[in-house]
């Protein structure tokens, strides 16, 4: 998995390419926490090009969600395919994260 970060003012867009799993969750989490420490408030994570997510990846998102909320911001997820939506529904974590179809939808929800 690789990911890229794009920061504009207090908005951080994270583009995930590949799997978010136990092998890379710490790097992923730390990169976003660093941006939050530097003032990012609206965190949009785009999974359009992502593969599967395991429990560690889900756990990283749960942990990030709390940290971002504590910092006065919010975490929004974009571009989940049917498999990933199923994963969030199975775990009921769709209740924790606002899910959007596109980056534009996530950003206009500000």
């Amino acid at each position: 998995m690789s990911f890229s970060l794009e920061r504009t003012d207090d908005v951080l867009i994270v583009d995930v390419d590949g799997q978010l799993v136990v092998t890379n969750r710490q790097e992923f989490k730390q990169a976003i926490l660093d941006a939050v420490e530097q003032g990012a408030k609206t965190i949009v994570i785009d999974f359009t090009r992502a593969g599967y997510i395991d429990s560690s990846g889900l756990g990283a998102l749960v942990s990030l969600s709390k940290r971002v909320r504590d910092a006065g911001g919010d975490l929004r997820l974009v571009g989940l395919n049917d498999d990933l939506r199923t994963l969030f529904e199975l775990t009921r974590l769709d209740a924790l994260f606002p899910l959007y179809a596109s980056r534009a939808d996530a950003l206009t929800a500000r």
């Binding site: 799993v21 756990g59 990283a60 775990t91």
Partner: protein, 147 residues
């Protein structure tokens, strides 16, 4: 009289050091077997890779305490109707039957870890745990029927 159906099975084994970086290659190989074996797209994209990743991570981190000198052995049996994945670590194991993970847990929406067994149970048809009587190892078995 109908000819008896063939029940040929394919067996593959891996032995890896207890390093998380070893997981991906094994998962990808098992997914490729499932794709060739006619498992559904959903099973190949979600059920198999997530559940096998969970089993391997559990064996490496909890079973073998991330000690690279300890091995994880993976055996895959692919039959026409089902996939069986055995993941053997060198740890004492745990009582799977008594391990409950549920979205109803009070801290489900706050904790970072503790969803792996839940996911394996949801994504596989059967998850079983076997501990060696002398404490020398633990085997986690995942089974998934082809749709």
């Amino acid at each position: 009289m109908a000819a008896p159906s063939l029940r040929a099975s394919q067996v593959q084994q891996w032995m890896i050091a207890s390093e998380l970086a070893r997981i991906t290659a094994v998962v990808e190989a098992i997914v490729a077997l499932c794709e060739a074996g006619g498992f559904s797209d959903r099973q190949c994209r979600l059920n198999v890779p997530v559940a096998v990743t969970e089993a391997l991570a559990n064996a490496i981190i909890r079973g073998n305490k991330s000690d690279p000198a300890r091995a994880v052995r993976v055996t895959v049996i692919l039959q026409s109707e089902r996939l069986t994945v055995d993941v053997l670590d060198e740890g004492p194991g745990f009582d799977l039957e008594r391990l409950v993970q549920s979205p109803d847990d009070a801290d489900w929406y706050a904790r970072e870890d503790g969803r792996g067994v839940f996911l394996m149970r949801e994504l596989m048809d059967h998850v079983q745990s076997f501990c060696a009587s002398d404490g020398s190892g633990h085997r986690l078995r995942l089974m998934l029927h082809r749709l």
